[in-house]
């Protein structure tokens, strides 16, 4: 069931050989625009980080095709269990840059109330974009449990669990896929093989022949797709989603792609990524690839790009300015949401902190920096 040649749909010249993505022009342009908006979000965040206005961000350069192609296969009633490098999925489904920027600033309007690092989003509408965790792989069995719950109630919800090549070594990968196989759970596992786990190349991660092949160990189909071909990703994911939705159980999809930026805004990939590898992948840029398709289909012209991208930049800048103006969360946010109800010992600890502030003045802000 496992194929080892990655599926692709958009030929280098933009032709699709008769393949019909089944999307309207507006939908296709939404995909394209989302990819540009991810780039714009990244660009603005990098600037904010370099100027010390936010602490950290995660670049998505090169992965936009995978993100948007995958997101487009899901309904709003489905659940996404994303990794920290899945911005495009959020934007695709209508989560606003402002909501995301609140998190980048960790301000009082951040859904996580400034408790998480930037890029660790949590949204529950218009789609469930489940609270991102730093520990790698923990969300994988969670997606399977959530899928079991929906299945038990007879709903046709499908869950996405998205993770990297590094994530396949985690405990959650093994237990999650194994449980999903036994339960025939409606989940799609998306392995974004972007070549690197921070500075560790895939050969240091596993000696298996790619990642899709790991599906056989769990009795489910494994499929490899060209992750820089947004339509191929969409096609493969749609099939997997359909299988899950109709009771056919889980699928492991491997998207072969490449992280063209650093691991994060604090990382310098030139320390470890060979220049030739980067250059080779630059030629496969998913945005350029999609543009060729759109152009060949008459939906887009090269001169459209600049205005669209600068509109996206404006949108992201505006969101950043608005988020920057929002105050920090209040002191009480340290103590709430630990439990549904504030227990006496936390009430007491909070009280002491307030009183200390009155007695001794406010705490000095720290100045440590995140290394990666």
């Amino acid at each position: 069931m496992t194929m080892s040649e990655p599926l692709s749909v958009i030929a280098p010249d933009g032709a699709t050989n008769g393949y019909d993505p089944g999307l309207s022009e507006a939908e296709l342009l939404h995909c394209y625009r989302t990819m540009l908006r991810v780039r714009a979000f990244d660009e603005i965040c990098l600037k904010l980080q370099r100027s010390g206005r936010i602490g950290f961000s995660i670049p998505n350069l090169g992965i936009e095709g995978t993100q948007v192609g995958a997101a487009s296969a899901f309904e709003k009633s489905d659940w996404l269990f994303p990794s920290y490098r899945d911005f495009g999925m959020a934007l695709y489904h209508g989560i606003t840059p402002l909501e995301m920027m609140h998190n980048m600033y960790g301000n009082a309007q951040d859904t996580a109330k400034g408790r998480q690092m930037p890029v660790h989003f949590s949204f529950d509408k218009p789609i469930r974009f489940v609270s991102i965790s730093s520990p790698i792989g923990t969300h994988i069995p969670q997606a399977v449990g959530a899928a079991y719950a929906s299945k038990l109630r007879g709903e046709d919800t499908v869950m996405l669990a998205s993770f990297g090549d590094g994530g396949t070594s985690s405990l959650g990968f093994h237990s999650g896929l194994n449980f999903a196989g036994v339960w025939k759970a409606p989940v799609v596992f998306l392995c974004q093989n972007n070549g690197w786990a921070i500075s560790c190349p895939v050969e240091e991660q596993t000696s298996s022949d790619g990642f899709a092949i790991k599906a056989e160990a769990y009795g489910m189909p494994g499929v490899v797709v060209d992750g820089n071909d947004v339509l191929a990703v969409r096609k493969t994911m749609l099939e997997a989603v359909e299988r899950a939705r109709s009771g056919g159980g889980p699928t492991l999809v491997e998207c072969k792609t490449f992280r063209m930026g650093g691991h994060s805004t604090s990382d310098d990939p030139s320390r470890y990524v060979p220049a030739e590898q980067r250059e080779e992948w630059e030629k496969k840029d998913p945005v350029l690839r999609f543009e060729r398709f759109l152009e060949a289909s008459g939906m887009w012209k090269a001169k459209d790009k600049e205005p669209m991208y600068s509109e996206a930049l404006d949108e992201m800048s505006a969101a950043a300015s608005e988020a920057e103006a929002v105050p920090k969360p209040g002191l009480e946010s340290i103590f709430t949401d630990v439990y549904a109800e504030l227990p006496p010992h936390l009430r007491r600890q909070g009280q002491e902190l307030f009183e200390l502030g009155k007695r001794k003045g406010d705490a000095a802000a720290g100045d440590g920096e995140f290394p990666l």
């Binding site: 529950d124 969670q142 449990g145 959530a146 079991y148 109630r153 959650g172 439990y339």
Partner: protein, 324 residues
């Protein structure tokens, strides 16, 4: 009212909760057809079917991880870990995920689940079938930690845990599974997750304990009474969040405190009780705050009855703080 063992009371508690609420599901290793290795879940798959009570693959990470996902999505999962000693492969899911999900999502996603697991010594289980790990979990904000010691409490605390909006680690004193019996009300009732139970009143010495140590402390208190020392025995029941005001109140009454648990002493739960008192009521103390605990070693097998605190050791500590 029926006269049940602690094990039967737990079984009754789960069945009661599952009858009441369709969203309660129960799973773990060997809990289905076999009814669990201790038979705690006997008859549940038969009554509720294998969609609501089922076996899982041998992965505690998967068991807890899947339970979290279920809890996020509307179910009320009860996940059984076969022995508390085997909870550690699921530790990351408990500590990093279940305990922190509400916080990190500003209550957008929550985690109402119960992890049930037998803990403690007394069955000649050696290193890996005897441990008492409550302190690991009590140091983890976002969890609740509950330990019953009577059949009545076992059922009522378990139902309350299942109905609680937050993740509860429910530790079952396996040494008491069949060795204690008591009256258990039929049908639905709960025991509050915030209160200490007074096992025995007494004005001279206060003994804090929980789980399998409760009958042992009670026995020691009886022996102390024969020697004229009136011991107030308290069963903490909910270790996290702890009723700290209650602890202080009881400690102040006698000014002499002994804490008893089976777990190793160093950085154990007993230390927290001592520290709370030393921080907030030291001026009431008329004697050292004594701890009677397991030793700071792994759990042995042949000599487990020397490792486990017994009435001799508890009585000795009571006499020590009384005579101080």
């Amino acid at each position: 009212m029926a006269n049940l063992t602690l094990l039967q009371a737990l079984n009754d508690g789960m069945k009661t909760a599952m009858r009441q609420d369709d969203s309660v599901v129960l799973f773990g290793e060997d809990v289905g057809l076999r009814g669990g290795v201790f038979l705690t879940t006997e008859g549940i798959q038969q009554e509720f079917g294998s969609e609501r009570c089922f076996d899982t693959p041998l992965s505690e990470d998967g068991i807890v991880g899947a339970a979290i996902g279920m809890a996020m999505n509307g179910l009320r999962p009860i996940a059984e870990i076969q022995f508390q000693d085997f909870i550690f492969p699921g530790f990351d899911q408990i500590v990093s995920e279940a305990a922190k999900l509400r916080y990190r999502s500003g209550s957008q996603y929550t985690c109402p689940l119960v992890i049930r697991t037998p803990y403690g010594g007394g069955i000649r289980g050696g290193l890996y079938h005897s441990q008492s790990g409550e302190a690991y979990f009590c140091h983890t904000a976002g969890l609740k930690v509950v330990i019953p010691s009577t059949p009545h409490d076992a059922k009522g605390l378990l139902i309350a845990s299942i109905e609680d909006p937050d993740p509860v680690l429910f530790l079952e004193p396996k040494a008491l599974y069949r060795s204690v019996k008591g009256e258990v009300p039929e049908g639905h009732y709960t025991v509050d997750l915030t209160t200490i139970r007074e096992v025995r009143p007494g004005k001279d010495v206060t003994v804090f304990c929980y789980g399998a140590m409760v009958p042992i402390a009670a026995k020691a208190a009886e022996q102390a009474a024969e020697k004229g020392i009136e011991v107030n025995v308290l069963d903490l029941r909910t270790l996290l969040p702890l009723d700290e005001d209650g602890v202080l109140e009881y400690a102040k009454r006698t000014g002499r405190v002994v804490v008893v648990h089976e777990a190793p002493r160093f950085c154990g739960f007993g230390g927290e009780i001592s520290a709370i008192i030393a921080e907030n009521a030291i001026e009431y103390m008329e004697a050292p705050i004594a701890r009677v605990t397991g030793f700071d070693t792994p759990f042995p097998n042949t000599l487990e009855h020397h490792y486990l605190p017994d009435d001799r050791r508890v009585l000795d500590a009571i006499e020590h703080v009384h005579a101080f």
